[in-house]
Symmetry: D2
Subunit: 433 residues, 4 copies
């Protein structure tokens, strides 16, 4: 976790304080359930809730752990310091450490997912606003980085919206994947703890009981979770890459918002660097790098080994914190980014009219000109535009063969931009409903 790439709300999920608070809730709810079942005395269960508003002392717990070398035991010892060791004697009865650790980890991941879902919703709102704003802003579409045909800036925002909307669904699915808890004992057989304890704790924490666990919750769930985050990160890279391209000196169709007070570059207006989106490109790589180890974590030995734990201690916080930061940063970039419609038109006309060459070619063949002749007609005029940057339409109008084949009006009509934007509303309706 890098402070500069993190936001407090997500960081808080991964703090020791939050972790111990969740542990506490698991233990306290479990005691309630055991009391309901008559397994432990009601008063002992109630006593645990005395610590309801306690802020657990992380330093003290660490101190105990230094002796016991066991984090859950350290916590329980500390809890007993608050509740009274006699009163606390039934806490954790029949449970195993992983019941607490795995259920807690999933609670944290669910909360993290909730933030990420809200992040994407915020990003979607920004993308939608910019899409509407630039629905009709003409711009050249590019395949292979090369001018192809006209499109609009709104369509660019709209496709990012559609992609992020799919990511919203993926995050919701990912949230479901890990919203389970397990209180099933040493090897998952419920030998020492009734399944109804698990049901009660899960209900209180907003989780479903894991249908079958083995001390640990199965790690295919976590693999799917981190894989979903990797896809979201890849979409962030996709959007960031577009903006980086737009801001290139030669393209300059858009730019990250630039605060003039920022030191260093204000003297050089041409030197406004897309550093936020470059940064997002890098962050995407670091989010994605969690995917493979999360998948390697699935094949634990027999009922469990602990190899997954160190991996998750890292990727749990790092990946969710970084993705939260990245989504928020991207939302800010989209929200404020500068769009330069004039430059878009200038770029489209770098070789004046040439983006319409395909359409003219098509018109010629449809008018009955053979493919070979049509090619030749387009080519001889296109080359003049390419070499001398003259206007393509003018060349065509001066070409007797072309005029003979199409007529003046039809030639002019081929340069109508409306041809390319006529279905923008249809597409917007598909995307935004």
């Amino acid at each position: 976790m890098i402070p500069r790439y993190s936001r407090p709300e997500m960081v808080a999920i991964w703090s020791p304080e939050t972790k111990f608070r969740i542990w506490y809730e698991i233990e306290a709810h479990a005691c309630d359930a055991m009391a309901d079942l008559g397994v432990i005395p009601r008063e002992n269960a109630e006593a645990v809730w005395k610590a309801k508003d306690v802020e657990f002392d992380v330093a003290r717990i660490d101190e105990i752990e230094a002796v016991t070398k066991h984090d859950v035991i350290a916590f329980l010892t500390h809890l007993a310091e608050h509740v009274g060791s006699e009163e606390a004697r039934f806490v954790h009865q029949g449970m195993t450490s992983s019941d607490v650790l795995d259920t807690c980890f999933n609670v944290q991941l669910v909360r993290a997912a909730d933030i990420l879902i809200a992040d994407v919703e915020g990003l979607l709102a920004a993308l939608k606003r910019r899409a509407m704003e630039h629905k009709d802003t003409l711009r050249v579409g590019r395949s292979h980085g090369i001018h192809a045909e006209p499109t609009t800036m709104g369509l660019t925002f709209a496709r990012f919206y559609a992609e992020m909307d799919r990511n919203l669904t993926r995050l919701r699915t990912a949230r479901d994947e890990i919203s389970t808890g397990a209180i099933s004992g040493a090897i998952g057989t419920f030998a020492n703890v009734d399944p109804r304890v698990e049901e009660h704790v899960c209900e209180k924490l907003g989780l479903s009981p894991e249908p079958i666990s083995t001390q640990v919750i199965p790690r295919d769930r976590h693999a799917a979770f981190f894989a979903a985050l990797g896809v979201v990160a890849s979409s962030i890279e996709n959007i960031a890459t577009e903006i980086r391209h737009m801001q290139r000196t030669e393209v300059l169709e858009g730019a990250e918002f630039f605060s003039m007070g920022q030191k260093g570059s204000s003297a050089m207006p041409h030197k406004k660097n897309p550093i936020l989106t470059e940064n997002l490109t890098g962050l995407a790589r670091t989010i994605r790098m969690a995917v493979v180890p999360a998948m390697e974590n699935v094949a634990l030995w027999h009922e469990r080994d602990i190899s997954h734990s160190s991996v998750e201690r890292m990727i749990g916080p790092d990946t969710t914190i970084t993705l939260d930061f990245a989504l928020a940063r991207l939302t800010g970039v989209i929200d404020k980014m500068l769009i330069f419609p004039d430059n878009m038109l200038d770029n489209m006309n770098k070789f004046p009219g040439l983006v319409m060459s395909q359409r003219v070619l098509l018109a010629l063949t449809q008018a009955g000109v053979s493919r070979e002749d049509a090619y030749a007609m387009v080519q001889r005029n296109a080359l003049k535009v390419w070499e001398h940057r003259v206007d393509f339409q003018e060349q065509l109008l001066a070409d007797e063969d072309v005029v003979a084949a199409l007529g003046v009006d039809a030639i002019k009509e081929k340069f109508d931009m409306g041809y390319h934007t006529k279905h923008v509303d249809t597409i917007f309706k598909r995307v935004f409903g």
Copy 2:
């Protein structure tokens, strides 16, 4: 694609013949839609269907491509050889190559997903059958590779069932992710092709229209698809690892079925190697390796670049073919695997009764013995078992303090296996309904 790790049905999806057949259907349905819209003459659309039963000549298409250096043009040229070049003149009108390529790729992935879904269903049936068969077969549960508490072999199969059942859902979601098609023209604006053509073609092919495409279908869909396959592969590795452990000479609780006619090892009955599950472990790695490049494919430049194409030419066939093979191989392994219940009991009793030490410890503390004393009592008896492999229960019954604390009957009761299996039915109900 490695022939020895492939099965014909999946391989066929990726053959040139299948590809050209799908291309043909896309073009023919598109012509129908254009005729419906009055864009092209009805008779030309109908003429295309003359090739309905033609087996396209791959060698001939390759020959044309060697000249045109363009695969779709080569195919269209060949198609015209069947349909007549006059009749075929409106085929592909207003469309771009990617309309055909991307829609075809998704059709192939959908078909591949259908096979994989059926594969997992087959695997689930095998796992369920073996789970039922061994529901009550006692076996020691192991954490960290070390004996923990008793469980049953049925629970092992049941948890693999539950995991694969989640994978079934993931594969269905993955199938949905890529069941879209696009016929949207050069840059996705439908400038030269009506959106209703796309709708018609997609309906005929069982796809949904991609809400917004940009010459290409957005690659976050494919990233999510291959990520799902990576999770399935990790679960395969998980099951394979369990079986490899079971077959170890020292463990020998299960084994891949062994055909006595197999050369080489029949003279050495102890040398039956779990080569199928080791192979599955390796195959899982190769399936998983597609995940990152699929994610790297998402950030294409502007409306598209072609960097994704070479990646998909490899991982499209390789990953689906390998996963299909792996699922089928695993199903065979599960179906026929040998289970050795006697060895399971022998292993559990390697240190006779010691797997119950935790339970005795718990009983002592519950009987009011202090934690320290309880530890001491268990420890002194456990060490004898550890060192001399004597029977733990006998030691306890000979220990006055333990007898005083628990009584003879309670001690004996602690060695009742039913204690550990009492919730097996509950878990089976959760898993199998």
Copy 3:
């Protein structure tokens, strides 16, 4: 392996014919060594060489394998068909299949490395030639895709040369990593085969004996090998990305060579797509994807398990074939790529003179102007250039404060390109010696 991304010489290394030829040599040399040691009769060793010029019948071996289910036994059976089964009876004595398989795999990797090394040498020659050719071709250097300061095209080629030269070293190291062989028997103890057999076979095949093997050659060697290939692939992506940027419509400082006979795009001169370098970008991803599974292959169980085998059956051929193809393709691209020096100057002057703003700023502060004042002076003139595309030098010469601070000559001097190219020779000397 995708035929369109492969070249015959590398493909041949991975053919069954080559594999059986290498197996044969291993067995024949091993027989020689055993005869030298008096372990087997000399005449039996000599008899094996009768098959020296035989082309082994792959179909026949496959046929035998279908029965024996063991590839090495199938080969030995076939070999006996050539040599005579009595004469061949000592072949493979005391050896294990992996002695043949692993040694063969390393021979193949060494040969593959030799081709890759030659490929890089060819690429270096092309890069050097283009670097020399464009040593002084002025071009704007860009950080963040934004104009920074002048540099030369030669320096771009030179840095790719330097990077590929490091890759040459890495490939040579990688070749060394896997140039070992092992003939050490079932578990690597030489129980049934004398270490001198291994020494003899390795010497004949140009390998070193693996100091300690365990049926298999340790897989850290292969992990390091494929990691090196991944780095080379990343450098290919680096160069490809530069060219893709250069060829963008708005930049157009260079382009992949374009053959005018190529169908489809000749009518549209502006639509020359950098498809080769985009393809190289994708191929780089597929080469890189072998790195992680190769590393996952290192941790085999005990003396060996066979999980690595399926991985290597894929990544062995696929990665080397693809990298060979990619290096050759890149060499062709570099060799023939079009460079547009005029466009480079045009781009540099998009905001005329503005790339010198940093230098002017520096000169002002060095002339004793306070940093704040210097910023203000540069900024007010730079903004005019930014907004109206007037000439920066002219603005400065018209700004009394700037003239007062620097003088006319010094201002003019700041626009001398020689300032930026004065160390090009130094750098070239460092790179090319």
Copy 4:
């Protein structure tokens, strides 16, 4: 960076204090060189050294950065607070931030590499000691987890030694890869800074001048560096996996050292879990996950973009800190691990004598028995051992056909362990010299 998986010396390399100290040295040495060249006054260069023993105030620098939004400017401002702003006015002249950042990063990586190299040397010493100690400790070698033939525990340690010795070489190569520095200005042309400044600074810092840089040092170097760390991590996983297998309840041939004071498990001697090596398995995954993003960092746009930076802020510290910790932990494990030679013999005799079946088979064929007959003889006796755990040798001696073929003495001789260990010294000589 996870505190529990880190050691102070490596952590210190990545502290802000260390970073600023290195930045200071780069700037101060650069001033010296500029003074030598007559570019800046000698007294200004000397003045910078006034801060030689200053501990830079990180909080103060952060405070300035909050305003300037530029880390290097913040540092320089703070430096001027120590040196005097008039005296400090020539610091950093002609340099760019990356000159400081990239050179510093490489200094940190070199120092990290030095620690890692020392770590591996420590591990090698432990492995060698244990190898010598158990050179002749008999143990069954296993392929596929199945008993194969006898070997010794010393050979296991020896092969880990050989593997780690290769890693030592790889780390040294990796150190060389990144021991370069660059002081080459905005775009790497040395326009504003003489190459001799770079040479001087590099010499003082123990680096080589980067032959050609482009504001940044080329990232193929870093990719190779992190790839090497990934290979080392994979070897750690390899060793850890062996120990985890050894410690399994059923195998119990070795164990991580267990401190009896450790709470929780002392009552259950059978429940000593290999948690350190399981942890190492997980840590290996987290080290390896840096490899792909480091490779993705290579293809920066043009002379540089900043996407690599966020990746390196994470993987720079995280990967080196984790690997340092992992190597130290593994060294401790090896150093103190418990070896149980008696259990090794017990395991080898699980099916008494059966590990010799291969050898008997070979002897029979060498004695002129046909392969089919030899198989049958071995098989019928082996099956008895397999089914009834009787002694293989005794069965053979009671089998008339076998005795007829081999004679009693020869049969007995086949069970001599010395046969399998006769080349241990040869192998040790190869490995340890």
